[in-house]
């Protein structure tokens, strides 16, 4: 299919349709309201459903009901809205329901601001709601990757019957880039091909979708079942990308999403100065590429790790955890909607190498 120039938020909406997800529930919130505005005319063209809910609390619980049909369902929101959905996300994890939630992250805490941020890493990766669960978390670094990961997100949600969060910061939602969609769009899923959706108890026993287990043995079993699922996800679904990683690197930078692209520019410019740094970009934030980051960090030529985030330092806790003390780690971050520039990243690398500004 020919390339189109599209705003990230609209491309995310179209990508869901390409994935056969035509059931969308949302509440307006900056900086992603364009998704709802796009879907409000685009979904009727494909026979889809859009409900503008009264709140993000309702959105989450509409998704729970809609996902119970076995069809592909999703929402898009931004940080404060995602907080309100955490109740339902916990329930849907406990219910083993497939759902895709897009967080076009803005600065927090509280009402925060409306500019890009990466300060919801903890919330997305460490459950966010109550109980022993995880969501798969995907972090695109471009509008094209947002499209590709949206399609992957629905496949992963269906395969593992789990919530999947696509974390794009405000920049991914707002910037325009050229994107390509698949030639053939995915047909909407037929719930009759699955053994769990609520399709009416015709010729079979009634099905119940629930997360309440008053018998502690059964509740523990549900947690064991979830843990077993996460073990498979960790073994099979880890994704990451390397940029200019070589045995000349002295510094290994870790960053995800838009921040990783800024770090690429910094790496290119440092190279011209004769300073070699490589980039390790997790694409799945959960499951985190833990073995891969360990291997890269352990390489002899790497003197130190630099984690760069649009936050006060959240992913760095996982990086520390997974490199197991093999190398010193430093952090550079800006927050509140301020995005670190390539120059700031370069200064930090020079300072780490004792090279001065």
């Amino acid at each position: 299919m020919a390339k189109k120039l599209m705003k990230g938020n609209e491309a995310i909406g179209e990508a869901a349709i390409a994935a056969g997800a035509i059931n969308y529930f949302a509440y307006p919130i900056t900086p992603q309201s364009e998704v709802a505005e796009y879907m409000t005319w685009r979904l009727p063209e494909v026979g889809g459903v859009f409900v503008q809910a009264e709140s993000e609390v309702a959105v989450g619980n509409m998704l729970l009901g809609a996902a119970s049909t076995g069809k592909r369902v999703f929402t898009t929101s931004s940080s404060p809205g995602i907080s309100l959905m955490m109740e339902a996300i916990s329930y849907m994890a406990g219910d083993h329901l497939p759902v895709v939630i897009v967080n076009i992250t803005r600065g927090g805490p509280g009402l925060g601001g409306i500019l890009p941020a990466q300060s919801d890493y903890f919330q997305a990766v460490k459950a966010g709601g109550h109980g022993d669960y995880h969501s798969i978390v995907l972090a695109p670094a471009s509008v094209q990757e947002a499209v590709d990961l949206m399609i992957l997100a629905f496949d992963l949600a269906d395969t593992y019957r789990t919530p999947v969060i696509v974390m794009g910061d405000g920049m991914i939602g707002q910037m325009m880039e050229s994107v390509e969609f698949p030639e053939k769009y995915h047909d909407p899923v037929n719930p009759e091909t699955k053994d769990w959706p609520l399709t009416g108890a015709k010729g079979r026993k009634p099905r119940v979708i629930k997360s309440l287990f008053l018998d502690p043995k059964l509740l523990e079993k549900n947690s064991f079942d979830l843990a077993a699922k996460y073990a498979v996800i960790k073994a099979k679904e880890v994704r990451h990308e390397l940029y200019k990683v070589s045995n000349k690197n002295r510094i290994l930078i870790t960053a995800y999403g838009t921040m990783a692209r800024i770090c690429q520019t910094a790496i290119d410019e440092l190279e011209e100065e004769g300073i070699s740094a490589g980039l390790f970009r997790p694409i799945t934030l959960y499951p985190f590429p833990e073995k891969e980051i360990y291997q890269e960090a352990a390489k002899k030529n790497i003197e130190a790790i630099l984690t760069v985030e649009m936050s006060m330092g959240q992913m760095i806790e996982d990086v520390e955890r997974f490199i197991k003390g093999t190398k010193p780690i430093e952090f550079y971050g800006r927050t509140g909607g301020i995005v670190p520039t390539p120059n700031e990243v370069k200064d930090k690398v020079r300072q780490m190498l004792g090279a001065g500004k």
Partner: protein, 253 residues
């Protein structure tokens, strides 16, 4: 003329064989039966999905022989909205208590009703929180003693009980809204009629429908089952008048 082995009364096929966990004298069992009978009589049992609340009837799916999804506390109308919008060909109902709907779930029910979602809500009002052990509900009557208002509900501090059907009647969107009771056989017959009408309107894709059913809670009211039905008749109906409050085909109220 009846022949000896004619079955004239039996368990409805709409319910499972499971014995309910409800307390003696609780009317949830009667209401479950009425809803199930209606689903069977309308021939829709095999394309119905129930949405369970949080409260005493959270385990309703153990008793109804239909597919069920469990909602978060108060969110059943949102969950039902999500399901019904994706599967308008199916019959969807929520079954909610007064704490679930009139307190924590007030936002969801008002907006679902106002959008005119084509599902049915069975709203069981026993004027108290049952499962958590008898706390004051938004529907607890003035002066009624509960564990969180041991001196009786003081309306100067917590306001008057909320009349959900009257409140929803204020919405302009067409809907079917009725209040019934199940404290006597005569009332049970009327209750079933209203429940049937509610589901019929859903089947026709006409409107949102809600039937409020006044119910007893002998355990948490601290009285016997017999005294509880009498207490309902003597106290609740005055504050919560029975009747059809809205019907898309009639001027009522």
């Amino acid at each position: 003329m009846l022949i000896d082995n004619d079955v004239i009364f039996s368990r409805t096929k709409g319910l499972t064989e499971n014995i309910t966990h409800y307390c003696p004298g609780c009317t949830h069992g009667v209401i479950h039966r009425l809803v199930s009978e209606v689903l069977v009589e309308l021939g829709v049992q095999d394309r119905t999905v129930g949405v369970a609340p949080v409260g005493c009837s959270v385990l309703a799916y153990n008793y109804y022989a239909v597919d069920f999804v469990e909602a978060a506390h108060g969110r059943a109308p949102a969950t039902a909205t999500g399901f019904k919008r994706v599967r308008p060909d199916m019959v969807v109902f929520t079954y909610q208590g007064d704490g679930d709907m009139a307190s924590i779930g007030m936002g969801e029910i008002v907006h679902a009703a106002n959008r005119g979602e084509k599902f049915t809500t069975i709203f069981v009002n026993n004027a108290i929180y049952g499962m958590t052990g008898g706390q004051m509900a938004p529907t607890t009557l003035p002066g009624h003693k509960t564990t969180t208002c041991p001196q009786g509900r003081d309306v100067t501090v917590v306001g008057y009980p909320i009349r959900m059907v009257e409140l929803l009647s204020g919405l302009r969107t067409p809907a079917y809204l009725a209040r019934v009771s199940v404290h006597s056989p005569m009332h049970i017959v009327a209750a079933k009629k209203a429940i049937r009408r509610a589901f019929q309107l859903q089947l026709e894709g006409r409107c949102f429908s809600l039937v409020e059913v006044l119910s007893t809670c002998p355990t948490n009211w601290g009285i016997t089952p017999t005294a509880a039905t009498k207490w309902l008749a003597d106290n609740m109906i005055d504050y919560y008048p029975l009747g059809i409050y809205k019907d898309p085909d009639q001027e009522v109220g």
